[in-house]
Amino acid sequence: MRYLKLISIATLLTALAGCVSPPPSHDYSAFRQADPHSILVLPPLNNTPEVIAPYSVMTQMMTPIAESGFYVFPVAVVDQTFKGNGLTVANDIHQVPVKKLHDIFGADSALYINIEEYGTSYVVISSETAVTVSAKLVDLRTGEVLWQDKARASSAEQQNNNTGGGLVGMLVVAAINQIAETVSDKGFEIAAITSNRLLSSDTYNGLLYGPRSPNYGQPALSEKKQ
């Protein structure tokens, strides 16, 4: 429950950041036209030395996808299906033809994830746990890229109060402090914030609202600002 609170705080932060200084909006026309109802999260490519990073990231991707209104396939079951068919390496899975994925899973679209940064580093004055992920949503019926973006979250955001403006900075401090108080697996918690920033349809340039969302059919948050 606490964890949900964290997610909603993270959502807020990104939403607020959107209020402060919006970057250009994505072009959602292909996404809207394809109108995917389900999203298959593929095991992520891991460009970090952290072995558990893919498990953590793919698990945390499920909630923002579901909350955005899409059917998200259960990541561990999907992982087992790939393993059972001899596909144990994410890189090989990302090479599987989209038609084959569509035939097996019946999924409209798949999320191809790349983990660029994961875990704790000690290069700065104090330690920092950060997770950076880029992702691409691909239509499994056509192979077309419907959406792509990148997001980062870090436990060190509390030390940079001035980067996102005083208000945003303070809110980040509140969210991160709560994390530090309650959990030991910081990477897993930061991955939740990263995933939410990246995907949630309640964040700027996130996914469109899916068919199971009460906001289905409405413009994305970033499209509302001219």
Partner: protein
């Protein structure tokens, strides 16, 4: 104290952005259970089953919807422990709640029978 101030700011900010929303689903410890399964760490499959049954019970008690994938994941855990009856039952529930899953779950059921 800091927390209080932050909460107050959040409230003000929320009214500004008009962005409040109830979650669509109840998750409980679903994510932690999935993470534990993938890591294959100290939490046994039986314990994971207990956790997920608790999530389902809590959701029912609060009239909340079960998140997509949870019943399929639980079904897989039951199959892992050799309980095909419960495994099939939860796979069927996933299909009922989320017709988007039918093709995949049928594929899994066919594979389970073949094994």
């Amino acid at each position: 104290m800091k927390k209080l101030i932050a909460t107050a700011i959040v409230c003000v900010a929320l009214t500004g952005c008009n962005n409040t929303k109830e979650p669509l689903y109840y998750y409980g410890d679903y994510n932690s259970a999935v993470y534990a399964y993938l890591k294959a760490d100290e939490v046994s499959v039986e314990e994971q089953i207990t956790i997920l049954e608790q999530v389902i019970a809590d959701a029912a008690n609060n009239s909340k919807a079960i998140a997509p994938g949870l019943h399929a994941h639980l079904g897989m855990l039951y199959f892992d422990t050799g309980n095909a009856v419960q495994g099939i039952a939860h796979f069927e529930t996933e299909k009922q709640l989320f017709p988007e899953s039918v093709q995949y779950i049928d594929f899994l059921l066919k594979s389970a029978k073949g094994a």
